[in-house]
Amino acid sequence: MAPTKTAPLATRRTILQALLSVPAFALFAAHATPSREQPADGLVEVNGWILKRSELA
């Protein structure tokens, strides 16, 4: 599933933005690959690398 922006409130503006994003969404979907299954862990910064906590050596 390709990512898209979600808004906390479905205002008229956000609905309009969602409609306007459809062509671009399709463009992105063509190039996006499925993500790996995401572990429910936080992010850490090690030596400047922004990593998931679970992938530390």
Binding site: P23, T33, E45
Partner: protein, 484 residues
Amino acid sequence: MIFENFEGFSASGFKPKVILIGSGPAGVTIARKLAAAGIPAAIFEAGQADFTEESQDFYKGTTVGDYYFDLDVARLRYFGGCSNHWAGWCRVMDAIDFEPKAWAPDTGWPIRRTDIEPYLNEVHDILDLVPFRDDVWISDDIRWVQLIKSPAVRFNEKYRAELEESKNIALVLDTYVTRLEGDGTKVTGAHVWSGGKDQGIATADFYIPCTGGLENSRLLLWSNEQSNGGVVPHAEALGKYWMEHPQFQGGNALMNDPDQFEMDAVSEAFFSPSIEAMQREQILNFGIRFIKMPYHGAKWLMAELACVAPDTAEWVSGGLGGNLRCAAQLMMGWEQAPRADNFVALSATEKDALGIPRIELHWKKSELEHRTLLQGLRLFGKTLAEKDYGRVRVEDWVLNNEPYPNDQELAGYHHMGGTRMGDDLSKSIVDRNQQVHGMANLYVGGSSVFTTSGQCNPTTTIVALSCRLGDHLAKRINQSAMAQ
């Protein structure tokens, strides 16, 4: 009509309604709009048809503060101005760039993006652009944005024939407006130097300096000083709130799939933040230029990642197919905070060949900008990790808040502010129509009117604002003519 110098122009008998100073994208665009409305306009260009060292010498100046380019190589003083060396990168400033931001003082334009949107079709024709695509959200924080690499229109090439044939536009080369004369309510004339001598004062109903984001301030500062405040009566902000787009490589990235994002012809893609992320992190707008790295860089980066996260390094390398195409440099360019202590001043000691003070530019990056650089890279890294698109490494000098390197791009050669647009007379020089506060017949064109800089290259927005100014002035002049 194109004249080689002011004498030829004077002999022609051409009577301009508007004098534009400078033949770059702003000056030419405004003149074309006026001409299309039947209004005669003269463009006084200080340089010649082509580059000369003698003309360029007038642009020498000094910078106080952060390391910056030599001022005489950062712009061009001949027909076409900076369009003669720009790279052609185009994007209109975002709607959020025009909005005030509570966490960044003195932000917020008196106009909104919707005020320039009606002119974007014209801008596409002028700059030979393909249509822009919408931004693509890759997370709540980050959008994948488009920056069109256009053919880089050279205005002296594209519009030379049109100007030569025009009955309503007189382009006058070798004509240096040394200063404007004013009485505190209106400009009364422009002092002109041409053909190696003083040519006296040229007059018109309206005057529009379009000499660039440094020189507009210089011209108005000098004019105001010589006229005892008669050219810019509300001058508190004159020369101030000058801005650039700092640009540095702040990090690297490894991507699992090198084709994750569609790259342009030179293997680059661009990313910017959401307004919510900017607000949460208390930062300004930025653009991350994602540049694919050569093999040796990718190999080194992969080895580094393997030290701290071997499984992740293995996972990323699995997506490479052995060719290591997926490493990238992250070149960060960002919006500089508008600050009164970044300013253009007249040098007390250095003068050009005609005795006019050269520019002394005071420019420093602030703490807010370092935060934008660091937190922006972190936002991008967080998105790439959470979505498993790849991993980001932030450079040590950024993490440790060390001095900015002097051997990188430094900035975009984008000169903005100095005569900024606003409603507050103490913090702006022109109003929402680019008319100088308190002056009946003086407008300013170009990026010196930018209230804030946004993060994108300025030429597209300059041309859009110039179309709008041309329209505004044409309507004003024609309505005035009908009323008489």
